[in-house]
């Protein structure tokens, strides 16, 4: 946990503590339709508000629209209808060149990991830091400590294809938290992990959340959701069917 302290002890967070009630994510009547041979209405008239510092689970059956919701939040997609704001800024209106800067403030765990296959684990995690021009020495300090946190310090010089599924997922988690984001979007971060490791990962997210970072997690892990007693938003066929503070799966 000392390591965590190192990563997260950032003045930004102390400040955030004070205005934790401020809105982080706001969605107003958002719909998302994928065009194609058949139109797929992945999200249908979603409105929700997530406050700064919240920890939110998104649950729902396969194909309910959880990943789509998250793709909207990192502006990988834009809504077909409706408005989505993060920290008061409209995402659909973000200009092309502002998008990378927006995404840097978010840590994302992708459902399919999205690791760079021709880079080692170290390089994968370091990539985000390099992109924001972190100094070499800081990268050399930070990356190993996050990798230790997710239990992969000894795999640092491996390539993704040399890792097990769960190890790849943990690399993805390490990459998401390494640059100290304001918001973490994690799409099934424990899908490939055993219950023990899952719990460790959740504890890490919890610790980060305690320091003020907003966390939105899609998950199928019933046990975990029931245990954590956090806000749960349930989707089904693209609609919100349940939104409970301190809910269960």
């Amino acid at each position: 946990m000392l390591v965590l302290y190192y990563i997260i002890s950032n003045t930004r967070y102390n400040q955030l503590y004070k205005d934790v009630v401020i809105k982080m994510i706001q969605m107003f009547n958002v719909s998302k339709t994928y065009e194609g041979d058949v139109l797929v209405k992945a999200l249908d008239d979603i409105s929700l508000h997530i406050k700064k510092g919240e920890f939110v689970f998104i649950v729902g059956p396969s194909g309910a629209g959880k990943s789509t919701l998250m793709r909207l939040m990192i502006r990988e997609e834009v809504p077909s209808k409706g408005q989505i704001m993060v920290e008061g800024r409209s995402l659909p209106r973000l200009r092309q060149r502002e998008i990378p800067h927006y995404r840097r403030k978010i840590g994302t765990v992708f459902q399919d990991f999205k690791l760079l296959m021709d880079r080692t684990i170290f390089e994968n995690v370091a990539f985000t830091l390099e992109a924001i021009e972190t100094s070499r020495s800081e990268i050399k300090a930070r990356v190993p400590s996050v990798l230790e946190l997710v239990g992969l310090k000894d795999k640092m010089s491996c390539y993704p294809h040399q890792l097990s599924g769960g190890q790849q997922q943990r690399v993805c988690i390490a990459r998401a938290i390494v640059n100290d984001p304001l918001l973490i979007i994690a799409d099934e971060p424990t899908g490939n992990l055993d219950p023990e490791t899952s719990r460790e990962i959740m504890n890490i997210l919890l610790a980060i959340n305690k320091r003020g970072t907003t966390i939105v997690t899609a998950t199928h892990d019933k046990e975990m959701v029931d245990l954590m007693k956090k806000r749960v938003i349930a989707l089904s066929s693209g609609r919100i069917v349940r939104d409970e503070e301190r809910g269960g799966y």
């Binding site: 990192i74 990988e76 092309q96 060149r97 998008i99 990378p100 800067h101 995404r103 840097r104 978010i106 994302t108 992708f110 999205k114 690791l115 760079l116 296959m117 021709d118 880079r119 990539f127 985000t128 390099e130 992109a131 924001i132 021009e133 100094s135 070499r136 990459r175």
Partner: protein, 295 residues
């Protein structure tokens, strides 16, 4: 963009070159071969031009003087010919020399000099060389107006043919260089695009984790440059080797064939090939990236 970011880009470029070795080498080889073809075509065309120029430089105008002109008058006419625009050299050929040349030219057909020593039917003449072969017909016309000139010969018909051929050759050469250049550009650009295309997934991921277009583009740009430059260096190396072999071979077997050996011209070609390879590699990468950067 600061120092560390440039360092990162350079390191990434080299790393990607090493790790995507097959792709990198394949595209490098394509650059090399395309430029080698272009370079060869270029040298071929330049040599054809060189040959044409050589042939043109051997053209001259023969000016026959009237029988009535005395030797002294004849010799005094020289400045008049020198005044004509486009005339580079003026040589006087007396009728005695003319007869000797004729016999030499006839090469054993008979002893003309002996037979006609007293009744030399030839007039005195001047041979004029032109600055530029294209001026030959005009010079002939100007010369005709000079007093004392009986007739002017410059191989009418043949010269026009030769000139139209050399003009055609020069145009065809330009067309060939242009077409082969276009083909080379296309081949190189396509290969670079293929290598970038095959890494579109990586590019998408980089965007999603917050890299700016510039940050993603830079290593690709540098790698493209590296590939282009290395490919071009190989091409220039091979081209120089081949060409000097060719020149040696020609000097051994068909040494009467004029070949271009002017180092400045060669260096200029090499320089252009290197520039082209580097530019195409770098800019090709950067442009090919564009469609994948819109994530």
């Amino acid at each position: 963009m600061n120092l560390s970011s440039i360092q990162y880009s350079l390191r990434d470029a080299l790393r990607s070159f090493r790790r995507n070795k097959f792709m990198s080498i394949a595209s490098m080889a394509t650059v090399a071969i395309s430029l080698l073809i272009l370079g060869s075509a270029w040298l071929l065309v330049l040599n054809a031009n060189f040959l044409a120029t050589k042939m043109e430089s051997e053209l001259e105008v023969n000016v026959y003087l009237l029988k009535e002109v005395t030797r002294e008058q004849a010799l005094n006419m020289k400045p008049e010919f020198e005044k004509i625009t486009g005339v580079a050299e003026v040589i006087f050929v007396s009728k005695e020399d003319g007869l000797k040349l004729l016999e030499d030219r006839m090469d054993g057909e008979g002893k003309i000099q002996e037979a006609m020593a007293d009744a030399n039917p030839l007039p005195d003449r001047y041979r004029l060389k032109a600055d530029n072969a294209d001026l030959v017909p005009q010079i002939a016309k100007d010369v005709e107006l000079i007093q004392g000139v009986e007739s002017v010969r410059y191989g009418q018909g043949m010269v026009e043919k030769l000139l139209s051929f050399t003009h055609w050759l020069r145009t065809a050469g330009l067309v060939v260089i242009f077409a082969v250049g276009l083909a080379a550009v296309f081949l190189i650009a396509t290969t670079i695009r293929l290598t970038v295309f095959s890494r579109r997934r990586e590019i998408g991921i980089m965007k999603l984790v917050g890299a700016t277009n510039g940050y993603i583009r830079r290593p690709f740009f540098l790698e493209g440059m590296l590939i282009g430059l290395t490919g071009a260096l190989i091409a220039v190396g091979c081209l120089h080797l081949f060409y000097s072999q060719l020149v040696k071979n020609i000097s051994l077997t068909v040494n009467f064939l004029p070949v271009l050996t002017d180092m400045n011209i060669l260096l200029n070609i090499y320089k252009n090939l290197l520039l082209m390879g580097t530019f195409l590699g770098a800019v090709g990468s950067a442009i090919s990236l564009r469609r994948f950067l819109k994530v």
